[in-house]
């Protein structure tokens, strides 16, 4: 069980909360308190929109322990519209063909269970194709 860790990361996992640098205005995810672009102190919270596009993807046929419920799944690098790239699974793909550049949006999904069936359920971000039409 890693309860403190899951609790500590909930803002990032549920809401993509990162930082904006007060010195160079760069958007930072994940938050790290030191701006990776200018080196200045950056502790101002910033919520990312959750919109982005697929930078790369791979379909995995074998998956790690704890992730079987989603298998087989597609891992992706998603470039957020504010700049940073995140690692995440794609979801709700249906028959959709995945390609680099495809617009996607963040959704909250079950990621895995901790330890076993009786452990806590860990939720976090995945990305799905942007739905067509008005929202």
């Amino acid at each position: 069980m890693e309860v403190p860790r899951h609790w500590r990361l909930k803002k990032q996992r549920y809401a993509l909360v990162g930082e904006v640098c007060p010195h160079c205005s760069s958007k930072i995810f994940p938050p790290r308190d030191v701006c990776p672009y200018c080196g200045g102190e950056a502790k101002t919270q910033f919520s990312f929109s959750g919109r982005g596009q697929v930078y790369s993807f791979t379909q995995m046929t074998s998956v790690p322990v704890g992730y079987e419920q989603s298998a087989p799944y597609t891992m992706a690098l998603v470039q957020l519209e504010e700049g940073p790239v995140v690692t995440a699974q794609l979801t709700d793909l249906g028959e959709q063909h995945v390609e680099i550049g495809m617009p996607v949006e963040m959704v909250t999904r079950k990621i895995r269970t901790d330890m076993d069936d009786r452990g806590i359920i860990i939720y976090g971000y995945k990305f799905r194709p942007v739905l067509a039409g008005p929202r």
């Binding site: 995995m60 074998s62 998956v63 891992m75 976090g124």
Partner: protein, 387 residues
């Protein structure tokens, strides 16, 4: 700085050694290296290891190793640098002897991957990634490489997917004559082309197999080593470079910056160009890493590394042989111990002891070990000393 030479090398066969523990496997490598070095007794042992604390529930490896090799009391501890751990341990041994603080140092790579079994075997390998932001999403070392290969094919639409097969094919061909290799069987191109997809667009043969192994090297001064009775090899370049922990934090993930920087630095130290070397032991954990390593080293322009695999260039007959004893793909990939094998194999070539795979008159070698997708890159230039 003193000149540093390798006085002794030792290795154990790479494979699935359920019958051997960390104790046994490391002791075999230590004994073999000491024997090769004419019985020299190391004053310090730097251990390259990645997963023992999780897979074998064992830390404090310095005590474990010295206690089991009749070297009690010797300075010894673990150097961890992902899958480049043993190469980093070799660098520490080099720095220790070069500095004058230690006269005889050992670098020991050791890994027991098969202490776990079943579904949990690959869990410790994820230690090298960003746990909070990669591992938790379901990412693995294999899917990282799949993402890189997919992006490579997208950025370079002319790249021939099948050309990546050169890396496993060359590795398997070269491993046939390596008694310490895990897979001593050549494979045909058709087998590669038909292999099952694992992490698209990568198939089973694009991926090096994790395994158990231990290998050791004894580094010392020229004066001390002159008595050992075999050709000497010296270290003329040693460097390590680091990139971001998470693959997604790199502005250009295909650049393998750390690999390029450390390689440029060692060549500058050695006063050579990469093209001067007689062969290159590179870190083919995945075939795409072979391509990206060659590009970052400057052997091919960006986006054209795959072309080097076409024809004989990278084979033992070519002008840039790679992975002369099988590489990670066919010798096997004992995680944090891998760098010690790469260095031992390079030294066999430089000493003229590589048997059927001997590169005629090999004098200069480049050896590069990566932790993660070139998150850590440790590179060395080795040179055979004139007799």
């Amino acid at each position: 700085m003193r000149e540093v030479v390798i006085a002794g090398i030792g290795q154990t066969p790479v494979g699935e050694h359920w019958e051997l523990s960390l104790r046994n496997i490391s002791a075999r490598a230590v004994q073999a290296a000491r024997k090769d070095a004419g019985g020299l007794i190391p004053e310090a042992i730097y251990i390259g290891n990645l997963i023992a604390s999780v897979a074998s529930h064992q830390a404090n490896l310095g005590a474990l190793v010295t206690d089991n090799t009749f070297l009690e009391g010797t300075e010894s501890y673990t150097i961890e640098a992902g899958e480049a751990s043993a190469a980093a341990a070799f660098r520490m041994a080099y720095l220790a002897v070069a500095s004058g603080w230690v006269d005889i140092a050992m670098a020991l790579g050791m890994e027991k991957y098969t202490d776990l079994s079943g579904d949990t075997m690959d869990e410790p390998t994820k230690l090298v990634m960003d746990y909070d932001y990669e591992v938790y999403t379901g990412q693995t070392l294999t899917s990282q490489a799949g993402l890189l290969m997919q992006r490579y094919l997208y950025e370079n639409p002319k790249a021939d997917r099948l050309a990546f097969g050169a890396f496993p094919l060359i590795g398997h061909t070269n491993a046939v004559n390596n008694p310490n290799a895990m897979f001593r069987k050549a494979i045909r191109a058709e087998v590669y082309e038909k292999a099952g997809m694992v992490s698209s667009p990568m198939n089973m043969f694009d991926i090096a197999p994790f395994a158990d192994g231990a290998a050791a090297l004894i580094l010392t001064t020229t004066e001390i080593a002159n008595k050992v009775g075999h050709p000497l090899v010296r270290v003329i370049g040693s460097d390590v470079a680091i990139d971001t922990l998470a693959l997604h934090d790199r502005p250009d993930p295909l650049a393998f910056r750390a690999a390029g920087v450390s390689l440029e630095n060692v060549c500058s130290q050695a006063g050579i160009l990469p093209s001067d070397v007689d062969f290159f032991e590179l870190h083919d954990a995945f075939s795409v890493y072979g391509v990206l390593s060659l590009e970052s080293a400057g052997f091919a322009p960006r986006g054209e590394g795959w072309k080097l695999g076409i024809g004989d260039k990278l084979t033992l007959k070519g002008d840039l042989p790679i992975n002369t004893m099988g590489g990670l793909k066919a010798r096997g990939y004992p995680l944090g111990a891998t760098g010690a094998y790469q260095l031992v194999e390079a030294i066999l070539q430089l000493r003229g002891e590589a048997g059927e795979n001997q590169i005629p008159d090999a004098r200069l070698a480049l050896v590069q070990s990566l932790g993660g997708p070139a998150t850590t890159a440790v590179t060395h230039v080795l040179e055979r000393m004139p007799v």
